[in-house]
Point group: C2
């Protein structure tokens, strides 16, 4: 985030059932962020995003991240007005998740495998997962990252910057 925020103006909306923790963590890093609490619903909807954006009065930004409520199911079906969806899967979550939850992996512009610093401690065959994701979504980008070691962050940032530049050219 530091590397991206030094070059681009970032903002974030964080979806959760309860607690402001995610937004607080981002604000502590200097990134304007608002928490949307659903109370119990398993996803955000476009109306919540619109309401929060209008109340937030973020100064202008280059990239808005919307972190939906954490699960691989409900967020899939709702268009929040985003340019694209990203699916995150940590290596500790098990290597058959794409086939178990095909909708989100089929629709995501990129699948980002996270916590690859744990790879030597868990059973997670990255190439098997890549094959599953490519089967579901041949056009999708497949990235592997570790926020802890920084591994793969160059490629993730390149992906975001390329998407931003493409949108600006449109």
């Amino acid at each position: 985030m530091d590397r991206l925020s030094s070059r681009y103006r970032l903002a974030a909306l964080e979806g959760d059932i309860a607690t402001e923790r995610d937004a607080e963590r981002l604000r502590a890093m200097g990134i304007p962020a608002r928490q949307i609490l659903t109370g119990g619903a398993c996803h955000l909807d476009a109306r919540q995003v619109q309401k929060e954006l209008s109340e937030a009065r973020f100064s202008s930004f280059d990239i808005l991240f919307i972190e939906n409520v954490g699960n691989l199911i409900c967020p899939t079906s709702y268009d929040l007005g985003e340019d694209f969806k990203i699916a995150l899967l940590s290596v500790a979550e098990g290597e058959d998740k794409p086939y178990k939850y095909p909708a989100i992996f089929s629709r995501a512009k990129a699948t980002v495998i996270t916590k690859i610093d744990l790879l030597e401690h868990v059973e997670f065959d990255v190439e098997a997962v890549r094959t599953q994701v490519k089967t579901l979504n041949p056009e999708g980008v497949f990235l592997t990252t570790s926020a802890r070691t920084g591994n793969g962050m160059d490629e993730w940032i390149e992906f975001l910057v390329a998407a931003l530049n493409q949108k600006r050219r449109l």
Copy 2:
């Protein structure tokens, strides 16, 4: 599972969006298991459980496990006819999950922290999580386990056997 299945007759219903993988894994271990595929729904309901049980014709069992679709939200609200719910949280999922998803942790008879073999590789303060869970659910049991090392499995089996014995006395 081996240690439990040598003493008790087990059976399982496995909920997922897609794939028979979980049920197949259990059947490979000799445990009668049926997969319920929701297609896209984020939880099981009691009707699906009833239908599957009547079609499964399991021989009689002592303990039926129902693994709901994997998320901390939707399964909370549905009574499947179970005796009690168990909340599972792996140490790789982050230590603020109970406060973010209070409903399931408030209602579970036990919270089982899984994958504690990864504790030295992730930021997860077990005592902080125990405090969160106990705040939400003072009566709930709190267990820590690793399926890989077997750590904590004695206490988990004791918990299940005690619950079974209590039900038989009623």
